[in-house]
Assembly symmetry: C2
Homo-oligomer: 514 residues x 2
Amino acid sequence: MSKQKTAISPTREENYPEWYQQVIKAADLAEPSPVRGCMVIKPWGYTIWENMQRVLDGMFKETGHRNAYFPLLIPLSYLQKEAEHVEGFAKECAVVTHHRLEVGPDGGLIPAPSAKLEEPLVVRPTSETIINESFSKWVQSYRDLPILINQWCNIVRWEMRTRMFLRTTEFLWQEGHTAHATEDEAIEETAKMHEVYARFAEDYVAMPVIKGRKTPGERFPGAVETYSIEAMMQDRKALQSGTSHFLGQKFAKASDIKFLDENGRIVHAWTTSWGLSTRMVGGLIMTHSDDDGLVLPPRLAPAQVVIMPITFKADDPDAVMQYCRKLRDELKQVIYDGRPLEIEFDDRDLRGGEKVWSWIKKGVPIRLEVGQRDMDGDSVFMARRDLSPKEKKGVPRSEFVATVIQILDEIQNGLFEKAKAHRAAHTRVIDDKDEFYDFFTAKSKDPQRPEIHGGFALTHWSGDGEVEKQINDDLSVTIRCIPMEGQVEGCHEPGTCPFSGKPSTQRVVWAKAY
Amino acid sequence: MSKQKTAISPTREENYPEWYQQVIKAADLAEPSPVRGCMVIKPWGYTIWENMQRVLDGMFKETGHRNAYFPLLIPLSYLQKEAEHVEGFAKECAVVTHHRLEVGPDGGLIPAPSAKLEEPLVVRPTSETIINESFSKWVQSYRDLPILINQWCNIVRWEMRTRMFLRTTEFLWQEGHTAHATEDEAIEETAKMHEVYARFAEDYVAMPVIKGRKTPGERFPGAVETYSIEAMMQDRKALQSGTSHFLGQKFAKASDIKFLDENGRIVHAWTTSWGLSTRMVGGLIMTHSDDDGLVLPPRLAPAQVVIMPITFKADDPDAVMQYCRKLRDELKQVIYDGRPLEIEFDDRDLRGGEKVWSWIKKGVPIRLEVGQRDMDGDSVFMARRDLSPKEKKGVPRSEFVATVIQILDEIQNGLFEKAKAHRAAHTRVIDDKDEFYDFFTAKSKDPQRPEIHGGFALTHWSGDGEVEKQINDDLSVTIRCIPMEGQVEGCHEPGTCPFSGKPSTQRVVWAKAY
């Protein structure tokens, strides 16, 4: 049987990590930059992020948050305020030590020795310390609480192994920071934003997620509790793509956020923080794309429809172009998910095949090829990115315009259901240690074909950190989360940990992870 | 005559720079940060910037630009590619030299000696060098041109003297970067974005501007030509608040942006860059605010209307609250400048006077106080920020809702006209050197009262850089711009430079500047 030709080489099956890089390249989403571990986010990739930002920003504002902006550079002494926090972040910081350059002995520029900073500054790896410093000035009385702030910004963490969107030295994110008068209120906020992330992932990214708590070893440095959303990628690895942290009073004590409560006592506030980054773009890519390139969920697509006038075969090229422009204007009147449809209009002077494939690789949900014959029949020739490239059909123009929203909804829901089915197919309830080890052992020994292991395993776990460590050492598998009630069916019945034999109150999700 | 009490102290007349800081504080726009020269932009200030971003971003997209994102950290070797450019920016750079911290001999954290970077990185002071590096990879043929990119990001320039919004070590901005096949096209782009900035300043910030070219000494480091918009603040100083640079082939040569033209020759591209920053928020504040605090142009206001229910005097507090909520919901249906009106609803438990003054200081265009009597008459008690705080009047609710847009337009236009009249009153055509020196000499010798000098002077100038330097040395006055045709009446007739006696083709704008 001859291999079917695909637009992306290698295929997912052949080499998943390399396939991922090639999808990004073919869709023109991003490229490596000359700066180690950093990437250039190109317009098609950046627009996906802009769309994510717009949706999330609306969700944050609906839940009472307001945007603000805090300094990029954090004094070393601030970072040191919370012991676990600095332990977690000092290892991977970009450190600013000078504030001027000068010509050095060999004629090139060097950091000017006379401009050495007294206290080095760290490029923010996260902003708890600097934002909480402000909070401490903003809060005097319980009447000043809660403070509900969000910041959209860039972050630098000096990562040793980087991968575009998933882990880069610099990345873009939002970080929410809130302060509350009571513990309950802060926990409620942590859960609320966790839920916002899950809703965003499922309703917009079309990426099914499990909401859960992290084990102590996987928590944010300094957090009392970290909640995350975990999704399964097509290589069955887990991707954590949004975390919400309950920080207790730890950061409030470190930054001295104190207030006079209703009973006239001076007490420390309770804080939270929560973040979602450009990593989510990586999650989107890996969840839906196929061997022909990017597949975009319509609600976050830079364009939902591309119109390709085919004029070279037309009797009357101008008329075809005119017909296409009219169609574009008509489609731009259609409101989809609260905004006008975004339409790409491709009248480039390219061969038809090349043009069509460029939009397949870019993942646009609906492609319309329109030539003389379509115009004559007042119709369009339609293809959907979620179907085979060969599956195209003529549709009356008016019918297409009337049903385009319905088609997009169908695509959006279809992508979600497909991802959900994939996850279900590769999630196994396991009660035996050997079965667990086998599940996570790749069957192929071909070094060219990276291991595709089992997927998600659900086992009982007693809370024993030694078990977690042993399995990580043996298999590079970790507990992705302890699912919340209702997230995974049958997960909350008592049982026995298959590794330690200890009693357990619930199952946890094990997986290899990005 | 007793002095009238104002909400801001000192007044503009008493001490303009200090008045500016106090307006920012009273309106809760921003605060100094613990990081030298950096500020924290608080929600009320940040929302002004968000509104500016939204409007500008729409204008950029309408003119064919797309957003992208490039690395924060720039290798030293990149900055050095263009000689004038590095000369201009090396003096004020934050330099990253290490990528890890470790515990030092005295127990505190220090940059880890083993993690010293081979090549230091500079926190971007502007991104020509790093963006043009990408362009050089994106462009092969004339068909790849033009490239029209914009980036929203943060910038660091190590400023010695900082002032909130106007000049801070870190600031937020957008930077457009474009590459073109021909010189004409690049010049056209430079002019087009210059015009976008002027339109934004006048139509949204309500800040009248003069569009002009910069003299060689005031150009962007490395630019062939810099266009700016210049506005007069209330202390008669000039503020440059948006610049558009024609970079010729200088940066294209430095970064090797080459392409095959239509005739099959390999040639260098022509590039431009243009930027507008959070400085514009400072311009907005200084243009309109008064001795009672911030005055917001309605089109950029975080809220156009604030509703203050007055329930403590009401027979039926719940009914008043209900009436106010209904009014809020009704107003939120009104579309203003393409979006629903933004309404603040202030039901805080505060004294009426304190509440009213808090919104005066925050600059909200329309204030509505609503109590039992207003509800009984189905009316609102309205005050406008552009009128005296004492000038309030009852208006039938339905009339208010029907005319609110008209009132906002009136306020927006009124602010613009007032600023224009102020500029006209303090702009003088001068043909005599002594008169010029006198114009720029402050009349008050009181050190507590900073000099208020003449304003803008229009004189002939032959292009002689020596004249420019002498006047800067003598008076700290510089040529703000060489006005474009049609910007300043009578400016483009030939004459004689009053300083050098040399012939001149046009008048230029002199001023003290921020």
